[in-house]
């Protein structure tokens, strides 16, 4: 999932200080799961902003809604009525949702309520960790299912480096060395000899370095 973290409430309040009517839009997918922008968080933020403005003697009207997801135009369309009289829209989705609303409603000012962090998963309830760099060319089959691109601080393909100390990365003793994890996994699989194969430099043009990316599936496009 995409993991995001809410901006400080004061920062959001500052961005909407001149608005009288605001629409807060939550998202029902990734940010609901990482507890930062679902229905509940949207209502909490709305309440906090209303209390803040009420005590400043400058009340604000805030409506809330949570879409199934904000990364599909069909759901963004559902805002057509509720967005009409809003001076600003605050999206609690990741950066994708903010852009989808901004693109669909050209006359509306759309504000991000979140800092989109990474693609990752939950280690436990309340702790999320980055697990995928979205590099565009997966090599997990070579590394026992452990990604050296995102989990190795240097993203090296032929590790470990000299900074691997007692299974930890030299940048922080709490970060495991990805290549140690890869070694342990390959040893458990009995495939250690595969680690001797030299991996050539990665083609980074498939990552963001090649410009904005797009995936097209002709077979599912509805004409």
């Amino acid at each position: 999932m995409i993991v995001a973290e809410q901006k400080p409430i004061t920062e959001i309040a500052e961005l909407i200080k001149d608005c009288k009517k605001v629409l807060l839009v939550g998202c029902g997918t990734c940010v609901t799961v990482c507890l930062s922008g679902g229905e509940k968080e949207t209502e909490i933020m709305a309440s906090a902003l209303r209390i803040m403005r009420e005590q400043e003697g400058n009340p604000i009207e805030i409506k809330t809604t949570t879409l199934v997801r904000q990364c599909d135009p069909e759901y963004i369309e559902e805002l057509a009525d509720s967005i009409k009289d809003a001076d600003a829209v605050v999206s609690l989705a990741c950066g994708v949702g903010v852009q989808y609303i901004a693109e669909r409603y050209m006359d509306k000012w759309v504000i991000p309520a979140q800092n989109t962090k990474f693609a990752g998963g939950a280690l436990e309830h309340g702790i999320w960790e980055e697990r995928c760099a979205l590099c565009g060319e997966c090599i997990l089959h070579l590394t026992g299912g452990i990604c050296p691109i995102i989990r190795c601080s240097k993203s090296i393909l032929n590790g470990p480096c000299g900074g691997s100390q007692y299974g930890k990365c030299e940048i922080d003793k709490n970060i495991p060395c990805a290549w140690q994890l890869i070694y342990d996994k390959m040893a458990a699989l009995g495939r250690l000899e595969e680690m001797m194969t030299y991996q050539p430099a990665k083609d980074w043009s498939k990552y963001r370095d090649g410009g904005p990316r797009k995936v097209v599936r002709e077979d599912v496009i509805i004409e």
């Binding site: 400080p8 209502e43 009420e54 005590q55």
Partner: protein, 154 residues
């Protein structure tokens, strides 16, 4: 201005504070009539939205009363409630709202006198703080023009 009578919402766990309130009643204990009790199946069901809603609606104070630590009927509900109340207190601080208006207490079903003490303690605390900036009743009275004194010229 009439004497300030705060509106305090007390979210009480069914297994401790709510039963303690019952006991306080059976013991004929006198305690502040300014609290409004909301019974919960467990303090762990408390939700930040409900607390904020109470303040939005003009509550001058809110408290959550949970079981003693280690005594939760559902094992960990009171620890969760404690964390959630702390989260809301931090949020209130950030938005410039007095976080002292929100409190968290632990007590057991056998602590009727403590229940009465908490109710009184909370009422005193809120009286000292004065009406909430969102309490519409007192807000209106504050902004209402003062009646003209006798003999004052028009």
């Amino acid at each position: 201005m009439p004497e300030f009578r705060p509106k305090i919402v007390a979210f009480c766990c069914h297994y401790c504070a709510y039963a303690a309130a019952d006991l306080a009643g059976s013991m004929r204990l006198q305690y502040s009539p300014d609290i409004r009790i909301v019974e919960m199946p467990c303090s762990g069901t408390i939700d930040a939205r409900v607390i904020l809603k109470a303040f939005e609606e003009g509550a001058d104070g809110v408290y959550v009363a949970a079981c003693l630590e280690g005594d939760c009927h559902f094992l960990k509900g009171n620890y969760r409630a404690k964390k959630r109340v702390k989260y809301v207190k931090d949020l209130l601080e950030q938005i410039g709202f007095e976080s002292e208006r929100l409190q968290f207490y632990n007590l057991s079903a056998a602590m009727g006198p403590r229940f009465a003490e908490i109710a009184n303690e909370m009422t005193e605390r809120i009286k000292a703080l004065g009406p909430s900036p969102l309490n519409k009743k007192y807000k209106q009275e504050k902004t209402k023009p003062k009646p003209k004194e006798e003999g004052e010229q028009q």
